[in-house]
């Protein structure tokens, strides 16, 4: 058996052993870079309206052509992506931190704390996501994508259940009791032994939640709840193109394609990491 230097190098080597995983990662990074550096790439300001050149076919100067108000569509798609990724990542971070913290507290300390928090999580699950978005929207006004908080809160139940199950599995292992017998305090045990063992799985769950967040975020965009025009994310762009679907199908298909590309690559990265972890354990 080859001596393994350290666990992380192992996982990375196992991950990149399959070409599919590398392609997925490159795809995702490409999309992120495109969206982040959109202002440099886009030929003209995406908001300037050219009444006489509406629905121009994709051409060399304007790769994605123009939309119903003659605005450069490449700019709109990229800036739409920027908004989607910003909102999704913000929501994932909130949901991830709260969910993991709740999961660890419930999983590790158990009984009273566990039942109280789990009862609260269950009631949270009973509130449908749509309502959550609308309530946050009313509360914080229609500002710039306030539904990101709703997205984050909606993610908490699933994460808490997952992390709680993992922590409870680890807690019954003997090395936790062994470190307690050496004299580690509860906090030391959590940080030294529990966190660094569930860390790879947490990252996997983070990826899965991020993919879910991107999907749900575009759904809110499509239903035009959460923010007002001219702000538009991929979902809204797809909704705009719905009416002219038969004549100009690319208006809807291009943003849909970018959503699918992003989410598919995220899922592929997730599966690749899952297999890489599988081999190690």
């Amino acid at each position: 058996m080859t001596p393994k230097r350290n666990k992380l190098a192992n996982i990375v080597r196992a991950y990149f052993s399959r070409p599919l995983n590398t392609i997925a990662l490159l795809c995702f990074i490409l999309v992120v870079l495109l969206c982040v550096f959109a202002p440099l790439i886009v030929p003209e300001n995406y908001n300037t309206i050219h009444v006489n050149r509406i629905f121009e076919k994709p051409s060399w100067q304007h790769i994605f052509g123009r939309d119903r108000l003659g605005r450069d569509y490449l700019g709109r798609v990229l800036f739409g992506g920027r908004l989607t990724l910003k909102v999704a990542s913000f929501a994932t971070v909130i949901g991830f931190l709260l969910g993991t913290a709740a999961g660890i507290l419930c999983g590790y300390f158990g009984n009273t704390l566990d039942t109280v928090v789990m009862r609260f999580i269950e009631t949270l699950e009973a509130v449908p996501f749509l309502l959550l978005v609308l309530v946050f929207e009313i509360m914080l006004g229609l500002g710039t994508g306030n539904y990101r908080y709703a997205l984050g809160v909606a993610m908490i139940p699933r994460l808490t259940h997952f992390v709680r199950a993992e922590v409870m599995k680890l807690r019954s292992q003997e090395y936790i009791e062994a470190s307690r017998s050496i004299g580690c305090s509860e906090m030391q045990i959590i940080f030294r032994h529990i966190l660094n063992n569930i860390f790879p799985i947490l990252i996997l769950q983070l990826l899965r939640c991020f993919a879910e967040a991107v999907l749900t975020c575009t759904i809110c965009g499509y239903l035009q709840i959460g923010f007002t025009p001219p702000m538009a994310d991929w979902g809204t762009l797809v909704a705009d193109g719905y009416h002219v679907l038969r004549v100009y199908p690319w208006i809807s298909l291009l943003p849909s394609g970018s959503v699918i590309l992003t989410v598919l690559s995220l899922n592929l990265i997730g599966n690749g990491l899952h297999d890489a972890l599988g081999q190690k354990q």
Partner: protein, 330 residues
């Protein structure tokens, strides 16, 4: 020789877990994992605790090491009663008593190198700097007969026997006075088992560590211990010196244990008698002696009176109403 000083004493220790019963009215019945156990361990002695699984010996081990707080009774380590102390102080005193667990593969953190696991106790108690900790880890590895290249390996790359040696090394890092081995050789093969037992024996002599050796395998307990306590359903039913217990055990359960130990050479198999039936459920124990339902020598009074601890011979206690009057021949 002068009476060795008692370093670990348990007084009327018991641990009860409530078990919910159907119906709100009925009083929730109680699982007595450990029921009124009193033990003492003297300097340099090895106290063996033997009993079937589910008799509460692991719970007792964890209570002796202060890992679990007893429902009632107390544990005195070097005369110190932990119930009064805060968690922090208890952790400070925990240096003197260390535990070795059953499954070596699960007793070490799979995500950390062996050197980190070995140095952890020293770091936790801030005994020495990082370099000294690595050096101390190397010495510990040598002490348990392992070479240095195991330092930079993960637990999954080593065999059960090697891992158990590392657990022993880690337990000795803090130079404890008492070592509690909870079934620490049960998960090993015969050859590994023998090597680990020998290691424990000479560490005991070299470092003058007294031990509490817990196992379900009477042969291993007999080899390691100077005194043996037999546990059944949370109670110590008999306690005596090793040879004393082997030659003239008083409690029927001890006799049953002795006769069902698979012995390779037939000489050890002559006092052969079998129990019938299974262990009763520990949740609501039958009245009187808990062994009455399976004991071939049980009389009517065994089912009514709860037996008291009785010292038949010097250093030999038993928990049987008919102690001394059963003749084992028939």
């Amino acid at each position: 020789m002068a009476e060795a000083q008692i370093i670990l004493e348990a007084r009327n220790l018991s641990k009860r877990y409530p078990v919910k019963k159907t119906g709100l009215l009925k009083r929730p019945s109680v699982l007595k994992a450990v029921d009124d156990v009193s033990l003492c361990l003297r300097e340099g002695e090895v106290l063996g605790i033997v009993g079937e699984s589910g008799c509460g010996k692991s719970t007792l081990a964890r209570m002796l090491a202060w890992l679990i707080r007893p429902t009632s009774g107390s544990v005195l380590l070097l005369g110190e009663d932990p119930s009064g102390l805060s968690d922090k102080e208890i952790r400070k005193l925990r240096r003197n008593i260390q535990v070795i667990f059953q499954n070596p593969h699960a007793s070490l953190d799979p995500g950390r190198l062996i050197r980190e696991s070995l140095a952890e106790p020293l770091q936790i108690h801030r005994i020495c700097s990082q370099e000294e900790a690595w050096q101390k880890s190397r010495d510990l590895l040598h002490m348990v007969g392992m070479d240095e290249d195991a330092m930079d390996k993960y637990p999954e790359e080593l065999s059960g026997g090697q891992l158990q040696r590392i657990c022993i090394a880690r337990a000795l890092a803090l130079e404890p006075k008492i070592l509690i081995c909870d079934e620490c050789v049960s998960a090993l093969d015969v050859s590994n088992q023998a090597q680990v037992l020998n290691l424990l024996m000479d560490l005991r002599k070299k470092l003058n560590v007294s031990m509490v050796f817990i196992s379900h395998d009477l042969r291993v307990v007999r080899f390691m211990s100077t005194r043996i306590a037999v546990m059944y359903l949370g109670r110590i039913v008999e306690e005596a010196g090793t040879e004393e217990l082997y030659l003239n055990a008083e409690h029927p359960y001890t006799r049953a244990l002795l006769s069902s130990v698979p012995a390779a050479n037939p000489a050890l198999r002559e006092m052969r008698f079998r129990l019938t039936g299974d262990i009763p459920s520990p949740v609501d124990l039958p009245p009187g002696c808990s062994f009455a339902s399976r004991c071939p020598y049980a009389k009517e009074e065994c089912r009514q009176w709860v037996p008291e601890r009785l010292t038949i011979r010097e250093g030999h206690d038993t928990l049987c109403l008919r102690a001394g009057e059963i003749n084992w021949k028939e």
